[in-house]
Symmetry: C2
Subunit: 184 residues, 2 copies
Amino acid sequence: MDVQLPPTSYAVLGLLGRRGPMSGYDLTAYADRSIAYFWPISRSLVYRELARLERLGLVTGTDVPQRRLPDKRIYDLTREGERALDRWLVENPFERDRGRSAFLLMFFFGERIPPSRLRGLLDAYRRAAEQDIEDLTAIVEHLVGVPRARFGYLAAQLGVRAARDRQEWAREVELALAAEPADP
Amino acid sequence: MDVQLPPTSYAVLGLLGRRGPMSGYDLTAYADRSIAYFWPISRSLVYRELARLERLGLVTGTDVPQRRLPDKRIYDLTREGERALDRWLVENPFERDRGRSAFLLMFFFGERIPPSRLRGLLDAYRRAAEQDIEDLTAIVEHLVGVPRARFGYLAAQLGVRAARDRQEWAREVELALAAEPADP
DNA sequence: ACCCTCATGTAATCGGTTACATGATTTA
DNA sequence: TAAATCATGTAACCGATTACATGAGGGT
């Protein structure tokens, strides 16, 4: 009974969970202001996701007629939808991702994640970053001085920096969260 | 006569240009070792791209029978293909991209880019990074202290760091390239 | 008067991932 | 001798982007 949905579906559920009932248009705007930097979603996709989630019973839609503006459809999380979201946040295995990071998406909904699970995720993220540092440093060292590999070398250096940032950030957040661990 | 291809197509052309004739398999392996950190491509996609590029006359394919291993098809850049690649590198407008950066892909093939154009790209990249710093800093400042926005705040901080890295990196590379500007 | 933006959504296309296939060679 | 791995590729599926559509209101 799991139907395996992509992260974007849970992004939609999560945003609905934070802001309450919204139209597809508003949800898109909210996504643009919040998760777009690490998990961009286009408007069309939001609509399609909402339709699917409704078919699956994870959200409900209600038509709202308007006179000035086009009629709209307001979506809300169902009990089922909340449970699916929370299940995903707890069970979705961490994956080392080049490109978009599903971890950051989960992290954004950190309020819903049990603290120990959150620590586990952060730890995995930090270790993945450390692995990236290692891999990219190896590439840098392998390419240093090779004239033909000039631009690859420089690009890899940017990669190393970004990976270091992720590592440091994860470490700091782990500490910050450890400082105030109260939770139900 | 331009047919507008996606960046991935030019990635394939560029890699062929650097290493010379290759099979799809080898090209994938090469991509994994080189551009994968900022522009991952899957094997299947490489094959499809090669087929399309051949249809368009930008690469040629030749079957090579093997006895131990499965027969393969070796692809090579055509004159047309090189021209298309170089045209893209020179004309493709810089775009501020969340997620995969087409700029980094272009930069990787920097040897093929005329120095002044390369400087222009780097400058645009640096300015985009500065804009990101600004935007994300505004978000951070807007969210600081708001308990409900805790995780969004932390996520935005990571974004600021990454943007700072890009900015500093671009500045340094601009300087490094200025130091040795010889070119035809 | 005209164009742009807001507010809402649908439809078509396409890039990218995942699953499927296969035979030789190495490893446990 | 059974199980990975290598080396090659095809086919099916699905997520995501781009294009299309519409009507009110605000700006020049």
